[in-house]
Symmetry: C2
Subunit: 121 residues, 2 copies
């Protein structure tokens, strides 16, 4: 029943990390409304903050920032700040982040198939 980052603020999905279940751990790391969506947009290379925002329909700057910070803290995304004016920041997948690629690909394929089965046009 051990939890991590207890009582932290602005920490998404952290309350239910129970260290004896790997699936729960993973859901904590990449579950939720936005994370896989952010990650899959980074599949083909680096993107800037604004590029991510415009690619991910309906995400607010606040949500994008919060989730990117978490993904960065968890070593799934790498953030690079360029010392330029105006500022330029790029995000990319880390090696462990890239290992998730087959997961969102399969999940996406499953969704397409499930939708075709249950919600035919």
């Amino acid at each position: 029943m051990a939890k991590i980052k207890e009582n932290s603020t602005n920490n998404l999905n952290r309350k239910y990390i129970i260290t004896d279940c790997n699936l729960t751990y993973s859901i904590c790391m990449v579950g939720g409304r936005w994370k896989l969506l952010i990650l899959c947009n980074l599949e083909n290379g680096k993107l800037r903050f604004g590029e991510l925002r415009s690619k991910i329909c309906n995400i607010t700057e606040r949500m994008l920032t919060l989730h990117l910070r978490e993904l960065e803290n968890d070593g799934i995304v790498k953030r690079t700040v360029y010392a330029e004016v105006p500022p330029k920041v790029e995000y990319e997948l880390t090696d462990i982040g890239r290992e998730l690629i087959p997961i969102w690909e399969q999940l996406s394929n499953w969704g397409e198939k499930h939708r075709a089965m249950t919600r035919p046009e």
Copy 2:
């Protein structure tokens, strides 16, 4: 930007179905705190309500009921009621539900690896 089941009550994760993204669709179907956990406990066959409850640490009856209903409505889980006293209800994966097995297996393996990397004992 089309949504489904708008304004429904007690419908988890339904607000953000945008029909032109399969990944978002899948996340809606099996995302969230509990669904994959419920499903992976059904991987090896049928289970009764009480068995699921005791296998899934910390889940309340209410949450288990709500999520099982959704999974049933979405054709991912099959519910069988036996006409007995006391009541007996069994849950099992459907075919489309079984197609998710590799996803939680991979996700679980990823979690184990990620944890070993970032949180060594």
